[in-house]
């Protein structure tokens, strides 16, 4: 009886804490959405609500579709590239002794430690020499590079946390290293991969400076550049309606993705049970 009551009380405090926090975290976004459909710029001077901010955004420059497509290309390439490089690299860092291992890890971490504008100037010059400027691929390559420190660190941690017996069993079964990685280890590090992939997605979906510097033609620009262009006016003025509509539009795919990826975080617990 008392146990039940304690459990119920715990549940109540759990949910009320979460709800209060969720309100705090979501309220700026809710306000953003509200202001994006309310006010003179949303309605063209009339009262009430209106879609004008979204219409302006959709019709801006080369069109919302074009910018979304460009951003999607960069994002997909970045996520795939990041996962490929960091899963292999993280596995190597966690499981193999090889010369230059520590150097690679420190070198990759150092990527975090250089102000982006500094590295972008010589990178731009370099990519120019090899004719890779103004391309979405080069933007994605650079973004993969920026994701390496986090991704390698995360994947190395994930592989290190796995018991060695797991792959040894697979190796005894006649799997090669690659086979062991694919069949046995990958399922066990899925939560880490989801996190790395998700952050690569967030970073590339929102990245502003890299595409701005590397892309020289407006029709290749990505969504964040278009959104910033749309909202920035003379003398520091900002079209706040466009800002808020832009925040809502850019957040929708992220919202969808978080919701879809939720279950992978729950799976981490059950993966632990299999190991026992």
């Amino acid at each position: 009886m008392t146990g039940n009551l304690v459990k119920r009380l715990r549940g109540v405090s759990f949910y009320s804490t979460n709800v209060v926090l969720a309100v705090l975290f979501l309220s700026p976004l809710v306000w953003s959405f509200y202001s994006s459909v309310h006010g003179p710029r949303a309605t063209g001077g009339k009262g009430g609500f209106g879609p004008d901010n979204y219409i302006r955004l959709a019709e801006y420059g080369a069109g919302l579709g074009r910018y979304t497509w460009n951003t999607s290309v960069v994002t997909v390439l970045t996520v795939i590239g990041t996962l490929l490089v960091t899963v292999l690299g993280g596995y190597a860092l966690a499981r193999f002794q090889f010369p230059g291992k520590n150097l690679l890890f420190i070198g990759a971490l150092a990527i975090l430690m250089v102000p982006h504008p500094t590295i972008l100037v010589p990178l731009y010059t370099m990519l120019n020499w090899v004719g890779l400027q103004n391309s979405l691929v080069s933007v994605a390559l650079v973004l993969v590079m920026f994701q390496l420190p986090f991704g390698l660190f995360m994947m190395r941690n994930a592989f290190e946390a796995l018991p060695k017996e797991l792959e040894e069993a697979a190796l005894l079964d006649g799997c090669g290293n690659l086979g062991a990685l694919r069949r046995v280890l990958l399922p066990a590090v899925t939560p880490a991969m989801v996190t790395v992939g998700m952050f690569a997605f967030l970073a590339s979906w929102n990245e502003f400076l890299t595409p701005l510097i590397f892309l020289t033609e407006g029709r290749n620009f990505t969504l964040p550049i278009a959104l910033v262009s749309l909202r920035s006016g003379e003398m520091g003025t900002v079209d706040l309606g466009a800002l808020q509509a832009g925040i809502v539009v850019a957040a929708i795919p992220c919202l969808l993705m978080f919701t879809l990826l939720q279950r992978h975080y729950v799976r981490g617990f059950t993966a632990g049970a299999v190991r026992g």
């Binding site: 759990f14 979460n18 700026p28 690299g89 190597a92 193999f96 250089v114 993969v144």
Partner: protein
């Protein structure tokens, strides 16, 4: 490791050495893509940037070697020198806040109760907004004539009269910290959550059977096992904050009276307002060396003392 390998070394066969060699080959092969990315897209441009820092590098025209002028000039760059202490203070404050808030959130939402996914999404959603957009959004909220924040606070009885969110150095600092906490807490929560989930449930069960309290479990089991992840959060937060640019550039523009200028804002001014790319590169090199040192220190402090 040494205890196992040293004694029987003489008897170790060619096979063991060959195995070590195959291991090295496999390791290199697996890390080859990462090595290529690091070397081609990072080390090479970094060397170029270092070369820039040794030259007077005009926008157009040939650079001329002038080392060590750009480095000497740093000590006379008042904006940058003043920014160092401020950036360190900001980094210390937000790193503590990030770690505390994110760990609290992660422990809260690692539960498997129904609906917890919604809360995770709610906390993570601000990370979907670009940093510059977040800063502008908060700027708008902080404006008393346009934003709702002062009205809300007044209605709750938390303030009386006019709020001044950005007017004084302390207020501007606190308002920016609030904004970045909102933007990044969920991000670090997910990192910690991923680490928490790598801890096998059996460990918790064993600890519960030993009659450990929640606090004991956290202190003796969870936190030690979470060490690699906490280190990752520390590295990310410390480097990210020491390189902070957009939050202050957009929200406070380094003001009032240059009281919130960060190191990168000072560097940015050298590069793209004064168009002195050489000096900017020199500042970047100094920042890089300092950051590598700080992070190696952190990793040393967090090293596994009883590693294998």
């Amino acid at each position: 490791m040494s205890t196992i390998t040293s004694a029987p070394r003489s008897r170790r066969s060619d096979g063991a050495r060959r195995r070590a060699r195959t291991e090295a080959t496999s390791g290199l092969l697996f890390s080859l893509p990462a090595i290529l990315f690091v070397v081609v897209l990072f080390i090479v441009p970094l060397v170029l940037a270092a070369w820039m820092s040794l030259n007077d590098w005009p926008l157009i025209g040939d650079p001329s070697f002038n080392a060590p002028d750009n480095y000497v000039a740093i000590s006379n760059n008042k904006l940058f020198m003043d920014s160092v202490l401020f950036t360190l203070k900001y980094t210390a404050v937000v790193t503590v806040i990030f770690l505390a808030v994110a760990l609290g959130l992660a422990l809260l939402v690692q539960s498997t109760r129904p609906g917890v996914g919604l809360f995770r999404t709610a906390f993570l959603l601000p990370a979907a907004v670009g940093v510059a957009s977040s800063a502008l959004l908060f700027y708008a909220m902080y404006n008393n004539d346009y934003g709702p924040l002062d009205d809300v606070l007044r209605a709750l009885g938390l303030i009386s009269g006019d709020a001044d969110f950005l007017g004084t150095p302390n207020a501007a600092f606190a308002s920016t910290v609030l904004m970045v906490t909102w933007r990044f807490a969920g991000f670090y929560m997910i990192v910690l959550l991923t680490g928490l989930q790598a801890i096998p449930v059996e460990v918790y069960e064993a600890s519960r059977m030993d009659g450990a309290s929640w606090w004991q479990t956290l202190r003796l089991i969870t936190l030690p096992l979470l060490k690699p992840t906490i280190l990752l959060v520390l590295v990310l937060s410390v480097t990210g904050s020491l390189l902070a640019f957009e939050p202050f550039y957009v929200l406070t523009a380094g003001g009032p009276s240059n009281s919130t200028v960060t190191m990168v804002i000072a560097m940015f001014r050298e590069a793209f307002t004064l168009f002195d790319l050489g000096s900017a590169a020199a500042i970047a090199m100094v920042i890089l060396v300092a950051l590598v040192a700080i992070n190696l220190g952190q990793m040393y402090a967090f090293r596994d003392k009883d590693k294998k």
